[in-house]
Amino acid sequence: MNDLAMDAPYRPAALDRAQQGLLGKPIDRYEAREKVSGAALYAFEQAPENTAYLAVVQSSIGRGRVTRVDAIEAEAAPGVIAVIHGDPRMPTGEGNSRAMSAIGKDEVFHYGQGVAIVVAETQEAARAAARLVQVSYEETPGRFDAAEVEIQQDHKLGFLPPVNRGDLDTALAAAEVVVDRTYTTPIHFPAALEPHATLAWWEGDKLTVRTSNQVIGGAKGTIATALGIDKDRVRVLAPYVGGGFGGKTGVGPEVIFAAIAAEKIGRPVKVALTRRQTAYMVHHRSPTTQRLRLGADHEGRISAIAHESVAYQNEDSAFLEPVPFGTLPLYAGEARRFRTDLARIDLPATGAVRAPGEAIGTFAVECAMDELAEELGLDPIELRRRNEPARDPTTGKRFSTRRLLDCYDNGARRFGWDQRAATPGSRREGEWLIGMGMAAALRGNFTVNAEAEVILGDDGRATVRTDMTDIGTGTYTILAQTVGDMLGLPIAAIDVVIGDTDLPPSAGSGGSFGAGSACAAAALACEDILAELGRRMNAAPEDMQLKDGVVTATDRSSPLADLVRGSPISAKGKTSPGKESQATSQASHGAQFAEVAVNAVTGEVRVRRMLGVFDIGRVLNEKTAKNQIIGGMVWGLAYALTEDGIVDPRNGRFVNPDFGEYHVAVNADVPQIEAYFIEEIDDSANPVGAKGVGELGIAGSGAAIVNAIYNATGVRIYDMPVTLDKLLPHLPPV
């Protein structure tokens, strides 16, 4: 095992010598043909013989406990095999590596919680019978109204403790200009296109689940914990995942339900949540209230920065949205205060949704910066330039790589930022008010433990094996590119095997850490293979050149296949965080620009174009990286303008838990979007030098749009999303 903790910057020399020219190129997806032809089978798309179907009975109260389940009618319904309730292994909610939801409890933590399951011969029969299960409750008053609940400052939730540096109050009092604004953001549903689905079956005492999950290694442990069995008895398969957006980082209750049902009836059991069920049984992004205070002198130098928020969680869960996470390293300023208070509420769990912290935290701070720039009469980019820190202003750590200023400059030039009207509301085309806005984007970079095995086979083909997932992000492709460059093989000569916990444990897809960590592990494995090839060639690795399956040493060359015939080479690589990870402040960065048109009659906002320039370390694949960045920018557009999960405060139900009324952006909303990269390989991040890209695009994009709306109209909205009813009272008369 080539086991490398990031104790110091590291880059495999073979990556610099690579002849194959794969990394960085906009190479088509490795599994594209399977996906577009339907050959790629997702979790729900296989049914072994004798598969039964599961439907979840959901709580019809918001808080209390189950007193009785009457299944007589449901059990008698056509096609019903079993109704299961009261099994002590049944969880009340989603589990993950940090916390398991309560199990075996009759407690109801929120409306829509799974309280019983029905197994039947068909999905239709199961769902119909689920409505026949009569559940009795003892109902207790629930806390459903975010405005009414008590705020707890002293809590232990979340991974981000409060930060207090310097004397904020004094610094604010002394500041020549102060911006003090409170922003609110609503519930966001992760809304993956593939709903949560699982097929579970037992072979003897071994459980296999084929499921839609982002982090299958973690899922394996969570499932074992929930069922009270040894981890080795659980295998999780997720070869294809139709989007996750954070909502598939944990193990949903339906996975455990399916395992229990499969055990009970001795048959494979399959379940897919309905779209409306995903709102209740999958975590969502917490709504937040965020108070931003910035104090600066007349020159725009920030002396005080405070980002204090309230986020929500129910009694059954341990996550807390790390709202100011992206603000911590963003701007200079001696006095700093960051905290997130907790409001306990009896609603479905909140959890990590694409860029937890940064997605909505950078929204508030970047809108506040726009206001500060205006107060000061400074261009928003110039204000940011004046507050660009030399070291992490919160931790004092050095930055690994940070090209934020270059992103601003490059983006401003490409976008035509100099065309922005200095006076808000001054550019009009017919009914439309036109404006431009910008914002910084930042997402913390993480390296996590990841292993991979690479086998150079008899036939000269390479296989890379790791329990990574590809949630639409491009994992298959970048692993092939990494191995191809390291070993001098074309993509067609590489087999990528992922999505199976029998493979070496990897990072999974979450927190934007998957690509860098997994590719690093694969590259490290390849280093050992190169060493062995060197021995077989009797050449030092640095004297070898590998391309198209041929190894060339100084004076001779050999097909790879000849070197491994009868004696394949297998090697493992492992990467993990180390001293360098601790010593540096690491993040991906970007500058987001948007041009919007606001209808002066109706208040409708249409985004005309978006452009971003991003610093993500090494670009592993320009196409899949842009796919992710643009996808994030689109979500930023949607949370700025439309996405708004509404709770009925009378009973804790969601008002709009479907795609009809929870408005994600549709094609017609999405304008021309351009994304560019400024590439600087970050050798402190991981051995391939790639920083996270999957979540960066959503950071700042919403703020750029809201700032553009201000530039177009002269109206600032502090309550997301900016729907037309909020703008209407401020528009000129007709």
Partner: protein
């Protein structure tokens, strides 16, 4: 979904005799059945009936009930003579849905009220007598005109709004073999205390056609839809306008509104405030006053009142050539 019986009808006469809920495109009904908002015992599939042509009749058009929204929007005669209808159709749903949705079915599209869709919620339309959770709840998309204490839901359609402004007539066939011609203005009911009864159709009565009279000569037509996103969202406010101006005087005005009421809304007082007057701001203001004199918001939808005024006035300017 509850089990149901299914039969396919091979003629309109057989369909009305079959005694069941008609299904054509199914773009609305199937969703509602999956949620058990609707639980018909029997579906009668009319999708293969010969009712999918657009014929010229009496200077106007006779549109078969099964003509898909996409086809109707693209019909050259519709584009040329009834552009308000074509635009309304294209403002609705998505391309895929418009390919499946039919003319007759679209007239009968049911409300998108959140509480109608949530079978745990109180809804007099879904379950008469159970109450209305929209009244004291989140009601941003709800009606401001013609509401009752029992229901504040809106009709969600676009096509019917344009048809209302075009004085369309619904042609039906009843189980006893009688045919009826129902002006669209008489077709929909207000919620009153029976919000579950949405039209004047009798049990088993089948829409076979929609008849459009000849368009008013010299009139300009417009459909404007205001919504939360650029596509695939229901109207917060929409207006279908057909206006003729001769010698500086408005001679014909037909204005229908979506998103405001339990039915495509049309009010003679609005048109009365316009016909015979010069197309000027004063007349437009008077029309808006007439439209909104009885308007009532329920909290989250209060914004529809000023929004409807602004949209109407702007639409009138566009229709009469006033500079914006």
């Amino acid at each position: 979904m509850k089990s149901f019986n299914y039969a396919r009808a091979d003629s309109p006469e057989a369909a009305v005799r079959a005694g069941g809920r008609f299904i054509a495109g199914g773009t609305n009904l199937l969703d509602l059945m999956k949620l058990q908002v609707e639980t018909p015992e029997k579906l009668v599939d009319i999708s293969r009936l010969d009712l999918n042509t657009v014929e010229e009749q009496d200077g106007g058009l006779l549109i078969g009930a099964l003509v898909p929204n996409s086809d109707l929007a693209a019909d050259p005669r519709v584009i040329a003579n009834y552009p308000v209808l074509s635009r309304a159709l294209l403002a609705g749903a998505s391309g895929q849905l418009r390919n499946k949705a039919t003319t007759g079915g679209n007239l009968l599209q049911r409300t998108r009220c959140y509480f109608f869709y949530d079978t745990h919620a109180a809804c007099n339309k879904r379950e008469p007598g159970s109450g209305c959770d929209a009244l004291g709840g989140f009601n941003r998309i709800h009606a401001i005109l013609g509401t009752s204490e029992h229901c504040i839901a809106t009709h969600p359609g676009d096509m019917p709004v344009a048809m209302r402004a075009l004085d369309a007539t619904v042609v039906t066939l009843k189980p006893d073999g009688d045919r009826r011609r129902i002006p669209l203005g008489d077709f929909y009911r207000l919620p009153g205390d029976t919000p579950h009864i949405e039209t004047v159709l009798e049990s088993g009565e089948l829409i076979t056609h929609v008849a459009l009279p000849a368009p008013p000569p010299g009139a300009r037509q417009l459909y404007r839809k205001v919504r939360d996103r650029a596509s695939y969202a229901f109207a917060l406010v929409s207006v279908a306008g057909v206006i003729a101006v001769e010698n500086g005087t408005i001679t014909h005005a037909a204005l229908a509104f979506g998103g405001l009421a339990h039915q495509p809304w049309r009010d003679p007082a609005v048109e009365g405030a316009l016909v015979g007057r010069a197309p000027e701001q004063a007349a437009f203001d008077a029309a808006a006053d007439a439209l909104l004199v009885g308007a009532r918001g329920f909290g989250h939808n209060d914004f529809k009142i000023p929004l409807a005024r602004r949209v109407l006035i702007t639409a009138l300017r566009d229709l009469t050539g006033e500079p914006a």
